[in-house]
């Protein structure tokens, strides 16, 4: 089931995977079943405005119906801005953002993540920032800031600690990004 099948074709519920809901609950979406599809979250969500086919409410319904493949084949779940507006407005305390996070965890386990996300993860491991631009130092200097920000970038010890932590996460087991200890970079430029 692909996203355009969702847009044009018929979804075969018989192929749904009933275990998905439980997996989501285990991966942080504990309040999943509280959702009554009222769509208040969708009314607040920038993903809807951006036109993604699977936004918070629909992601939840797809999880209810076990439409694992449809969600994995579509990039929508990665479009969440983590703005958490949905969480603030949901009348059922579902915490839709957490559900999307849980769905992302499912996706990562199945290596169904876009290149952009792999780069982000790699950058996180290498610099402690998911987004950190090459040449940022120059730009900072131009406006009179220290070249390196007072974060893991300027503090190799802290970065080492962070990397040690990341190596203990599921990410390391999955081997999505290279994490050899020797590869710790001294530079913040990626």
């Amino acid at each position: 089931m692909s996203s355009d099948q969702v847009a044009t074709g018929v979804i075969n519920l018989s192929e749904g995977d009933s275990s998905l809901a439980n997996e989501i609950k285990e991966l942080g979406g504990e309040e999943l079943m509280e959702c009554i599809q009222c769509a208040k979250c969708a009314a607040a969500c920038p993903m809807v405005l951006a036109g993604f086919p699977f936004f918070n409410k629909r992601i939840i319904q797809a999880i209810f119906l076990g439409l694992r493949d449809a969600l994995l084949d579509d990039s929508s779940i990665w479009a969440c801005q983590s703005c958490n507006r949905c969480t603030e407005v949901c009348p059922r305390e579902v915490n839709p953002f957490e559900i999307i996070q849980a769905m992302r965890r499912v996706a990562i386990r199945e290596f169904a993540l876009p290149t952009l996300s792999i780069e982000g993860l790699k950058s996180l491991y290498d610099t402690g920032h998911a987004v950190y631009l090459a040449g940022a130092g120059n730009t900072r200097a131009k406006v009179g800031l220290p070249e390196k920000p007072p974060s893991t970038v300027a503090n190799p010890e802290a970065l080492k600690e962070l990397q040690a932590v990341i190596r203990k996460t599921a990410l390391a087991d999955l081997g999505i990004i290279p994490m050899d200890e020797s590869g710790v970079k001294e530079t913040c430029e990626v």
Binding site: L13, S14, M33, Q37, A62
Partner: protein, 669 residues
């Protein structure tokens, strides 16, 4: 010369918003016979009524006209005020300038005001001819009739019986119990339906004040509150119920097979049968239409004799019956027996019927695996066709995927426009019962809206969703039969925004709740109208929900509209207390607004006799001539006779010819 006081109500903005009340008042003041005209914000309030009382007490007026809202709710209030002021309470006339004027002509203030003037003028004209009348009282027969032996009827009967009144409980089936007896478990507590109902049935069956008339139907009703004369037909059972012990030996012996109504046609019963195991009374009935007349014995004939043994050749049922209750030699009257009852009040609790699946061609009703929710209820019930085992009808296999379809025939202009109210909950309940027992069965419920309005219902809904029952918003468009006894359900999931399809082994249709068969006819016998949906109409949705337009007749349960068990029971108990009021008082007031014949002048043409819808008029001999006579107790004051009498000698008190003519004249000018 009468001295009329006119009181015009603003009804807050209700009237004053469209009618220039002060202008109407000034106009009224000048009408003939009017000595004063006042207006007030709320005439029905205490100070409003006080105005009338004081004016009467001060000797200013002796007739009262109130221009306000509907007399249906307000006339009694103003009559009381007139009486408290010291006048006869029938010296009051009302003009309905709200329902008949300010409401419909809200947009046109000028003409609404003009119309109000006309209405007031006509009321004033009539008031000039008003005459004092005296209330009458009739003695009340201290007994009640309850029509319908379902859960509502049984509770109504028990309450009245416990208050000490004699109750006749008429039920058309052989046993009491109604639809509730068919249910497996009941929401929101999941009590076993039979377990909570059976004790009630037994109480009804053994209560000294209740006379149970099962397998009986109301034939006709005459009379009015306090004194209804009811004819009930006890249908022919072809079994001597005094002797029958309900052992069921005859049933086991009978070879004839008939679709079993109690199991919603999913298995067979015999031609001689006991309705269901917990039946009260537990008695056998012969379904004469399907009886095979074994041993070549039609009912009412003597057995042939065996050529060798000389013994009589009996039918299997007869042979099996040890008590002699089943005796085919007896000549039974197929019409049964008419019993006449005298009761003071009547409660109708005729129940409902669930809609059949046949009309829904788009859902493949021909498939044995497309069933109604009531059929599923029987499948789930331990006394049902599968003894509680979840098996699908086509092959007896346990289904792996079940789809429920809601609102089948409800909220559908082609069938029933109303919401059947209980379907959401019973679907959730059935799904839950299945899911709790067999967690691996996949259950999908296709909803339009989930309506779980009752106490503790939303919690029930949440619990069901937690069990993993899948809810989809979107009415199913089609159910197709696939090879291998499977069914394809096609819908559009509104929440996903995509068409979906599902292969299911069993499809359950939550078909609509319909009025009980022949409810309309029963209504005609009782004089109660049924609404466009076919359910009986209450007198007032909010204030008189168990009363009907016929005094002394009350309604309860699904007779009035779809209802769940808690609601039916509450309404039944409300109806029983309303029905007990006249019984407790022992007499009821009858308004004197009835017709009277001037017998001296009556020519005895008999026109009125034919026309009276309440059979209140008869021709009686009077000094060698036939003259019409009206029975006060039966006259409902409809006025048909007074309007029709060619000699003009019938007077409808409160609406005399002089009064009506004056009223019309005032309107016409």
């Amino acid at each position: 010369m009468p001295r009329i006081g006119v009181y015009i109500c603003h009804c807050g903005e209700n009237i004053a918003g469209a009618v220039n009340v002060e202008e109407v008042r000034k106009y009224a003041e000048k009408l003939p016979g009017v000595v004063l005209a006042r207006n007030y914000l709320f005439m029905c309030s205490d100070p409003g009524q006080e105005l009338i009382k004081q004016d009467i007490k001060n000797g200013l007026i002796d007739r009262v006209v109130v221009a306000a809202c509907t007399p249906r709710t307000h006339e009694p209030i103003f009559r009381k005020a007139v009486e408290d002021g010291g006048l006869n309470k029938y010296l009051l006339e009302m003009a309905n300038i709200r329902d008949q004027d300010s409401w419909p002509h809200w947009q046109d203030k000028e003409r609404a005001t003009a119309k109000a003037k006309k209405l007031v003028a006509s009321a004033v004209a009539k008031a000039a001819f008003l005459e004092p009348l005296e209330d009458r009282f009739v003695e009340v027969t201290r007994a009640s009739l309850v029509v319908g032996g379902g859960v509502a009827g049984m509770f109504a009967a028990l309450d009245l019986a416990n208050m000490g009144y004699k109750v006749y409980l008429v039920e058309k089936s052989p046993s009491v119990g109604g639809n509730m007896a068919k249910l497996d478990k009941t929401f929101p507590t999941n009590d076993c339906s039979a377990c909570i109902l059976t004790p009630i049935m037994v109480q009804v069956g053994t209560h000294p004040n209740i006379e149970l008339l099962t397998y009986s139907e109301v034939e006709s009703v005459e009379g009015s509150v306090g004194n209804f004369k009811v004819k009930v037909r006890k249908k022919q059972t072809y079994i001597d119920w005094d002797k029958c012990t309900g052992c069921g030996d005859c049933v086991n012996a009978c070879p004839a097979k008939v679709p079993n109504e109690f199991n919603e046609g999913m298995d067979n019963r015999k031609a001689i049968y006991i309705e269901f195991p917990q039946a009260v009374p537990k008695r056998a009935v012969v379904d004469i239409e399907h009886c095979l007349n074994c041993a070549k014995r039609i009912i009412g004939t003597q057995p042939r004799t065996h050529s060798k043994t000389g013994e009589p050749i009996l039918a299997p049922c007869e042979k099996a019956c040890k008590t002699g209750a089943c005796d085919r030699s007896r000549a039974y009257n197929p019409e049964g027996e008419i019993v006449e009852l005298n009761v003071g009040t009547i409660i109708v609790a005729a129940g409902y019927k669930v809609m059949d699946k046949a009309p829904f061609k788009e859902y493949s009703p021909q498939s044995p695996n497309v069933i109604t929710a009531m059929q599923l209820e029987r499948i789930l019930s331990a006394t049902g066709p599968t003894e509680g085992q979840l098996k699908r009808p086509s092959d007896g296999e346990k289904p792996k995927t079940i789809a429920f379809i809601s609102c089948v025939g409800s909220r559908d202009k082609r069938y029933h426009t109303y919401c059947s109210k209980v379907c959401c909950m019973y679907m959730l309940k059935e799904a839950r019962l299945i899911k709790e027992k067999y967690p691996h069965i996949d259950i999908y419920i296709f909803f339009i809206d989930v309506r779980t309005g009752g106490k503790d219902f939303e919690e029930y809904y949440n619990y069901c969703r937690d069990l993993g029952i899948k809810m989809l918003r979107g009415r199913v468009g089609a159910v197709d039969e696939l090879p291998g006894d499977r069914l394809r359900v096609r819908a559009y999931d509104v929440d996903l925004g995509a068409p979906v399809e599902l292969e299911a082994d069993l499809v359950v249709l939550a078909t609509a709740i319909e009025p009980a068969p022949d409810l309309e006819e029963l209504g005609r016998k009782l004089g109660i109208t049924c609404g466009s949906e076919g359910f009986m109409k209450e007198l007032h949705t909010k204030l008189y929900p168990v009363e009907t337009s016929v005094k002394g007749i009350y309604i309860a349960g699904c007779t009035q509209g779809p209802k769940d068990i808690p609601e039916s029971v509450s309404q039944a108990r409300a109806a029983s207390s309303a029905a007990a009021v006249p019984l407790t008082l022992g007499k009821v007031i009858v308004e004197p607004l009835i017709s009277e014949v001037n017998q001296r002048k009556c020519t005895g043409c008999g026109t009125c006799v034919q026309l009276c819808p309440y059979s209140a008029i008869s021709l009686v001999e009077d000094k060698g001539r036939l003259r019409s006579k009206i029975d006060e107790a039966l006259c409902a004051g409809c006025g048909v006779c007074a309007a029709a009498c060619p000699s003009g000698v019938i007077t409808l008190h409160g609406f005399t010819n002089a009064q009506i003519h004056a009223q019309i004249k005032a309107l016409a000018c």
